[in-house]
């Protein structure tokens, strides 16, 4: 108890730093972000340079990650597409998690009408058939968003809203279930007896204890958002077909999997590393936030 004077934020950071995997993951994720942002300057190869004489080549000095079936450089494509994949993955994860946690938390705290109403909304979203809905959204909103945010910006906003907006339901259900159980626990009752407001009970006492499944859900969300982005571009909802996002690279590579495994290997590994590092960061954060855990 000698560290009482240390602020909670700094204490969390101290505990987080001691989580070796989490620290390593932070470095890996940072490197990947730097790679996709700065990389195109260090490796100035055009992403759409077609070279039929260099089809499906394995990794070499001139093409460190090999080439695809039009002889385009995979490294350059991955760095370009990685910006979008990482941004979409992270942004959609944030949207889905925030929406899910908010809805789940309010439903889980409510003892009156909010719970059935919010659960009805969740059920509704779970049962909507996604493909017709997506086609409807493209049809209704694409032109307007394009006008407001420009081609790429509009598509980005649309994708993040669509992926985030259609995938928050599991988080909401998980959070609600945790809340239902936690709100009856002794420590919450103690807080309630001390006169803590509902909001304070939620944010200070229940939510930190309900974070476990949320962190797992949001890391899974990153990978599914990266994949979902590529699915969307097949519906004409995503980025134009010539933008090589990681999910799209993986999809394009699948028919050549037996002859050109490198084509699928690199984007697959990139998605894997992203998921892995975000997950360990999440684990580290949870351990750091949980005072019971001795680190």
């Amino acid at each position: 108890m000698s560290q009482v004077s240390v602020s909670p934020g700094r204490e969390t950071w101290r505990r987080f730093r001691r989580h070796r995997l989490a620290m390593a993951s932070t470095v890996v994720l940072a490197l990947m972000i730097i790679g996709v942002v700065v990389g195109p300057w260090l490796w100035p190869v055009a992403i759409n340079d077609i070279d039929f004489s260099a089809q499906l080549q394995g990794p070499s000095w001139s093409h460190p990650f090999g080439t695809d079936d039009l002889g385009q450089d995979i490294l350059a494509r991955m760095m370009y597409g990685g910006r979008i994949s990482l941004a979409v993955g992270l942004a959609a994860m944030v949207v889905a998690t925030i929406v899910g946690v908010l809805i789940g938390a309010f439903a889980g705290m409510s003892r009156k009408y909010a719970d059935p109403v919010l659960m009805w909304v969740t059920d509704l979203f779970l049962s909507l058939p996604q493909l017709p809905l997506l086609l409807l959204i493209i049809y209704l909103f694409r032109e307007q968003l394009k006008a407001v945010f420009g081609v790429e910006g509009g598509v980005f906003v649309l994708i993040v809203i669509v992926i985030g907006g259609l995938r928050w339901m599991p988080v909401a259900r998980l959070v609600r279930a945790q809340f239902l159980s936690l709100r009856e626990k002794e420590f919450v009752e103690a807080a309630r007896a001390q006169g803590a407001t509902k909001l304070r009970q939620m944010t200070r006492h229940i939510l930190p204890n309900a974070l476990g499944p949320v962190i797992v859900a949001s890391t899974i969300e990153v990978s599914s958002a990266i994949i979902a982005e590529s699915t969307l571009s097949f519906l004409g909802l995503g980025f134009p077909p010539d933008i090589p996002t990681w999910g799209r690279l993986l999809f394009d590579a699948k028919d050549q999997l037996d002859t050109a495994p490198h084509w699928a290997l690199f984007p697959g590994a990139a998605i894997f590393l992203t998921v892995l590092s975000i997950n360990f960061i999440g684990d580290g954060l949870r351990d750091a936030l949980d005072p019971r855990r001795v680190i």
């Binding site: 059935p116 659960m119 009805w120 969740t122 059920d123 509704l124 779970l126 049962s127 909507l128 058939p129 493909l131 017709p132 809905l133 086609l135 409807l136 049809y139 339901m169 599991p170 259900r173 998980l174 279930a177 945790q178 239902l180 159980s181 009856e184 626990k185 204890n209 476990g212 499944p213 962190i215 797992v216 859900a217 890391t219 899974i220 990978s223 599914s224 994949i227 999910g247 993986l250 999809f251 699948k254 999997l257 037996d258 699928a264 697959g268 998605i271 894997f272 998921v275 892995l276 997950n279 019971r292 855990r293």
Partner: protein
């Protein structure tokens, strides 16, 4: 409890009606035309197309069409498929057994893998076993099923020639051979789906068990001298099951709804592929029927989950 159940079931009726209104509106407004092939075919005069649209009632306002659908549904008439020109319930019944078998087995497989692995990994966090299990789980959900499915086909069908990769709903064999053939053709889709699901379940189980494993009551149970096995099963697992129950309840409707991508890859004639074909052909009666049954299941399993929460943690009350 009984009154609670009755109340919830009664609430379910208006909420399902509300969902059906929204589903119907979305489908009616979504772009596409069930008779588009007719329109682009120069051999079909426009009058024929109009006559067909009129006979299927497609020119009426949405509300009229919805009420017609609702009253037919209430009388057990599920509608008539535009694309196949047969009754929708026949179509669904043809597909249902396959979907229940393939997706159901994959869910069971997922749970059978995820529960033991997740619990064991959580009791020894950051051990070698835990690290390996985690890494495999990450690989599992980083790779989409279209990719793992193809990988399986290339390895087990093309290279090794062990299993067929085209799923057939009627196998021309009887007796033991039938079971053997069924096993051979079902193993790849079930494994692909099951392992994908197991990867995320494992992470949830591990995280949920970790959340309770250091709580005081667990320490108390150990201090009482209970065996480690008993502590894990009786005290830890039961309390850690709430997120797992939530997830399983979320996934159960999919056992009816099918798994779109996997069904497509292995040509499993399930509800998922029926739905996607119907969507691509704008066959609204089929889409509406499948999604409506799906939403009924979503609502129903949400209710089941709530009841199970109360059983797992008696302090949870809904009254």
């Amino acid at each position: 409890m009984a009154t609670y159940l009755i109340r919830r079931l009664l609430i379910a009726i208006p909420s399902l009606l509300g969902i059906s209104v929204i589903l119907f509106t979305v489908l009616a407004m979504a772009p596409g035309d069930p008779f588009s092939e007719m329109a682009t075919n120069p051999n079909v005069p426009p009058e024929v197309r109009e006559a067909l649209r009129a006979s299927f009632g497609l020119n009426d306002p949405i509300m009229v069409r919805y009420l017609r659908w609702l009253s037919a549904m209430a009388q057990g008439d599920w509608g008539f498929s535009f694309a196949s020109r047969i009754n929708v319930d026949d179509l669904i019944l043809q597909r249902l057994p396959t979907t229940l078998f393939v997706v159901g087995s994959s869910q069971i497989l997922a749970l059978c893998v995820a529960l033991p692995v997740g619990i064991y990994a959580a009791t020894r966090p950051y051990s070698v076993f835990d690290q390996i299990a985690n890494t495999l789980a990450f690989v599992g959900f980083s790779l989409p099923t279209f990719f793992t499915g193809l990988l399986f086909i290339l390895i087990f069908s093309v290279s090794l020639d062990w299993f067929p990769f085209v799923y057939r709903s009627d196998i021309a064999a009887t007796g033991w051979r039938w079971y053997w053939e069924m096993f051979r053709q079902a193993i790849m889709p079930i494994t692909v789906l099951g392992l994908f699901q197991a990867a995320s379940y494992t992470r949830y189980v591990r995280s949920a068990v970790l959340d309770v494993i250091r709580l005081d009551y667990v320490t108390t149970a150990r201090a009482k001298g209970l065996s480690e096995r008993k502590v894990t099963l009786r005290h830890i697992t039961r309390n850690a099951l709430i997120p797992v129950v939530t997830l399983v309840a979320l996934q159960m409707p999919a056992v009816f709804g099918g798994a779109l991508v996997t069904e497509q890859i292995f040509r499993v004639p399930g509800i998922g592929s029926l739905l996607i074909d119907a969507i691509l052909a704008n066959d609204t009666p089929v889409i509406m029927a499948v999604t409506f049954v799906f939403s009924c299941l979503v609502v129903f399993f949400n209710l089941i989950a709530d009841i199970l929460y109360g059983w797992l943690d008696p302090r949870i009350s809904f009254s």
